[in-house]
Structure formats: C-alpha cells, structure tokens
C-alpha cells in the first residue's frame, strides 16, 4: 500500500494527461492539472519552510557549532513571514478602499517591499555577482589551448566576449567598409568582432543548441515513461520511512 497506491496515482495522472493532449474535448483537464500542480508547489514551499525551521531548531537545541547563525536565520525567517502575511504597511486598493486587506502584498513602501528591495535583492544579486570572480579565476587557470577542441572553445569564448562588449568595437572598429580584393561582396568590416560574434551565435551555435535540445527532449520523454510505467521508483524514497 505504501508503494502501490503512489505508483498507481502517478501512472493514472500521467497517462490521463498524455491522453488529454490528443482529445480536444479534454484539453482543459491539462490546465486544471497545472493549476493543482501549482497549488501543490505552493504547499511544498510551506513544507520547505517547516523543514528549515525543524533543522535550525535542532541546531540551536543541540548547541551545534554556529548555532548563533541558525538563530539569525530563524529571526530573519519569522520577521519576513510576519510582515509578508500580515501585509504590514500595505495600503488598501484604490478601487476598494473599505477593504483593508485588498492592497498588493508587494506594494512599494510596505515592509515586505523594504525587505525585498534592501535585503533580498542585494544579497541574491551579490551572491551571483561573486561568481564572476570565481569563473574568471577558474577560466584563467583551466583554459589552455591543449588540443583542437579546447582551442575552438577558447577562441569562440574570446570572440563572443569581446564582440558583445564595447571592446570589440574599439579593437576592430577601424576595419574599413571596403571589399576585399578577389572576393565577391565580402568587406573588411565583415570581420568586425561584433559581426563575427553575431555570425557565431546565429549559424554555429544554433546547430549545437538544437542537438542538445533534441537530446534533452528525448531524455525527458524516456525518463517520464520510466516514471509512469513504474520502472523508476526513486521518487518514492526508501521503505524504511515511518
């Protein structure tokens, strides 16, 4: 029962939704399933929050190393949750001013907006910006033109990087717009780095991306079938669960 019913539920849901794609009358079922899916995803966030709470409380109660940071996490979590759910500082909607709770929860000037604007956004943007240093450092250490493949990768990366910035214009902007002798219609300016970068993106990157996309689609289709047919049961976890 612990494994059979979930397998049955996933198979029925999956195959019914596949079937609805071929029967126009039932296409709306797919939309309903997506709405339910989004609701479950929303509840999964609550589950995630509950799990975070459990882990941090365990850390604090066991006085593990760094438990103070767990306390900071919990304080930040509860403050954000409270101001967001209680709509602190949110004015009512202009259309329905008599309904105090009718305003947008992310309204400019509200406490939740303040937390997003001055804490969440700067922190997430800076975290990702940090990667610029590490990518550059890793590239500097690892990028070596050892063979043909590595040379292609390196030179394309350099051309695209320069071609998509002002450096490309600055370095190759002097090339004249005159035809190259012995060629029909090819000019020196065709070798401007921004132009070369555009050609690479349009003509040489497209085949690779297309092949990868086709491969991903085949992978998704086969994995989906394995899940629906009960061949892949890894999502059910182990039998030892309470």
């Amino acid at each position: 029962m612990k494994r059979t019913i979930p397998l049955f539920i996933s198979a029925v849901t999956g195959f019914v939704l596949i079937g609805t794609a071929f029967i126009p009358k039932f296409v709306d079922w797919g939309n309903d399933a997506m709405a339910w899916f989004n609701l479950l995803a929303a509840f999964a966030f609550i589950l995630g929050g509950g799990n975070l709470l459990k882990m941090q409380l365990q850390k604090i109660s066991a006085q593990q190393p760094g438990w103070g940071y767990a306390a900071v996490t919990l304080i930040a979590f509860f403050i954000t949750l409270f101001v967001g759910l209680a709509k602190v500082g949110v004015n009512p909607s202009v259309k329905f001013p008599e309904f105090a709770w009718s305003g947008e929860f992310q309204e400019e000037g509200s406490a939740f907006w303040w937390l997003f604007e001055y804490i969440f956004y700067p922190l997430s943007a800076t975290m990702f910006a940090l990667l610029a240093f590490y990518i550059s450092s890793a590239a500097f250490r690892a990028f070596r033109a050892k063979n043909t493949e590595a040379t292609i990768l390196l030179s394309i990366a350099v051309i695209v990087l320069l071609g998509r910035t002002y450096a490309g214009v600055w370095l190759t902007g002097w090339l004249p717009n005159e035809p190259i002798i012995g060629t029909s219609g090819i000019t020196y300016s065709d070798f401007h780095l921004p132009h070369l970068s555009q050609i690479i993106m349009d003509d040489f990157t497209t085949p690779g991306m297309r092949a990868i996309t086709i491969g991903i689609a085949l992978g998704v289709a086969s994995t989906s079938l394995k899940v629906l047919l009960g061949v892949d049961r890894s999502y059910l976890g182990s039998d030892q669960e309470a």
């Binding site: 019913i5 709405a35 609701l39 930040a76 309904f99 939740f112 610029a132 990157t205």
Partner: protein, 298 residues
C-alpha cells in the same frame, strides 16, 4: 591570529569606518521621497459614501531636495545603508570565510525561504485555492474584485486534501502518506512535460532543421550566403546527433562526423561560457554601480 589576517582585518575595519565618516560629512547615502496624496471613495453602493485618504511616497533624485512635498525618508535611507552593508558583507567572502559573511548568509537563507512562502501564499493559496473554495469569504476579505456570481468550485477540495497530505511529511509518524501527493506531482509533471517537450523541443527543432541546402531568390538567382548558412546548420545538427548516438561504434566515417559534431558543440559551449561570464559581470557591475552611484554618490 596570523599577522597577515590581523593587518587585513585592521585595514578593513579602518576602511569601513572612514567610509561611514566620509558619508556622513558629505551628506550622501540619503534617500528623498515625494508625498503623493491618495483619495479613494468606497466602492459599496449600499453603504453611505465615504472617502478614504492616505499618502504614498515616490523616490526622487537627491537634487530635488528642498522642493515642496519632498522630504527625507528615514526608512529608505536606512534600507540603502543595510543594502550597502549586505553587499559589502557578501563581497568580504573574497577575502575569506568570515563572521560577517556568515551572518548575511544566514539572513539570506531566512529571508529567501520566507519570501518564497509569502509569494506562494498570496499568489497561489489565496488567489487559486481560497478564492475558488470560498469565493464569498474571499470577496469580503482579500479579493473584493471577485464577481458575486462566482460559486464554490468543490473540485479544488482535491488539491487541498493532497496539499494537507504533503504537509504530513513533517509529522513524526505516517510520513509515507506524503508520497500520494508527491506521486500526483510527479505523474502530472511527467505527463505534461512528455508531450510538451516532444512537441516543442523534439519535433519543433527537427522541423526547423529541415530546410533547403540550395537557396534561390524569387528571380531564380542563387543565394550562396543563405545556402551556406543552411548547410552549416543542417551539417552541424546532423554531426552533433551522430556524436550523441552511442549505439554504434564511432569508427571510420562515423568517427569523423562525430568529431565535427564535437567541434560544433565546442563552439556552442564557448559561446555559452562567454554569455555566462557576461551575465555575472553585468550583475557585478550592477552591484558596483549601486555602491558607487546610489550609496556613495561618486
């Protein structure tokens, strides 16, 4: 403490303090807002007409300081300083793992988890579950724009029950019950994704690759650039697909074709790498712009 660590720490503390003193003396790092009065009339036709008044505040450039209805905003100024502190604290990781970084990291984890929960609550649970099950109550509380003709959609009891079962995972006993909604989740994902990926990514991409090797314009003259471009795309996709085909040995002609495929893939990876680097650099320049322009006003 190592001597180098001590020197770096002293330098950073001294630098930070100097920055704060300079900022206060220059009067920068302040945010000014314009008050915008709002006047709204009650929407209910039955109740006596009543007017509600409040104010909203719009951020304005510092040069508008002193103009009528423009005032200093303590909360936004404080926010600017908090954002600057957060940015510098995260950047301090470049020097090494330190308590300042760990503190902001802990704040980030807490705020982002709660942020996701709040957004999910207001955009999904209230709008798509609560309003569908109890439209009357939702109309009287959070969503007054729901039409009075809307009836309860009892079908939404199913996702409600599944959601409650999902939260059962946190219970000490019977957490296996959470597998049922999870199975629905996985089954729905597999069913929807299987069709959409096959339609858009598999058939769609193959369809886009089926194009003429030789291109002529409407007057019948040969367009060699377009022909070359089409040929590159067709040969590129085919050779990459040959490289991904592992059911046959990559020997003889297949070996050379798959080698060509690898070169096309290297071009793709090189361009993707360049784009990733540029994206991160753009974020970095955004943060530096914030520090130097918005905060320091340089």
């Amino acid at each position: 403490m190592k001597q180098s660590t001590l020197i770096w720490t002293m330098l950073m503390v001294f630098g930070g303090l100097s920055l704060i003193v300079i900022q206060f003396n220059r009067g920068k790092g302040e945010v000014y807002v314009r008050e915008v009065p709002v006047e709204a009339k009650a929407s209910s036709k039955t109740s006596p007409e009543q007017t509600y008044r409040w104010s909203t505040y719009q951020q304005v450039p510092e040069k508008e300081k002193g103009k009528p209805s423009v005032s200093f905003s303590l909360s936004r100024t404080l926010g600017l300083w908090v954002a600057a502190f957060c940015t510098l604290a995260i950047f301090s990781f470049l020097y090494g793992d330190n308590p300042l970084y760990k503190f902001t990291e802990a704040v980030f984890v807490g705020v982002s988890a709660a942020y996701a929960m709040v957004v999910a609550f207001w955009t999904e649970i209230v709008t798509n579950l609560f309003a569908k099950l109890f439209p009357g109550f939702a109309r009287m509380s959070f969503l007054p724009d729901i039409s009075e003709n809307v009836q309860s959609d009892l079908l939404y009891l199913i996702p409600l029950v599944l959601s409650v079962l999902l939260l059962w995972r946190l219970a000490p006993k019977g957490s296996w019950i959470a597998r049922w909604p999870l199975a629905f989740f996985i089954g729905a994902t597999a069913g929807i994704r299987l069709i959409s990926y096959l339609e858009a990514d598999f058939i769609g991409q193959i369809q886009n690759t089926i194009m003429p090797f030789i291109v002529f314009d409407s007057k019948g003259s040969f367009l060699w650039i377009d022909s070359l471009r089409n040929t590159i795309v067709i040969v590129g996709v085919t050779s990459c697909m040959v490289y991904f085909f592992f059911s046959i040995e990559h020997e003889g002609v297949v070996k050379y074709i798959s080698r060509l495929g690898v070169w096309f893939l290297m071009v793709t990876f090189g361009a993707s790498f360049a784009y990733t680097v540029m994206g991160r650099i753009a974020l970095l320049s955004g943060r530096l712009d914030f520090l130097f322009n918005n905060w320091l006003g340089i």
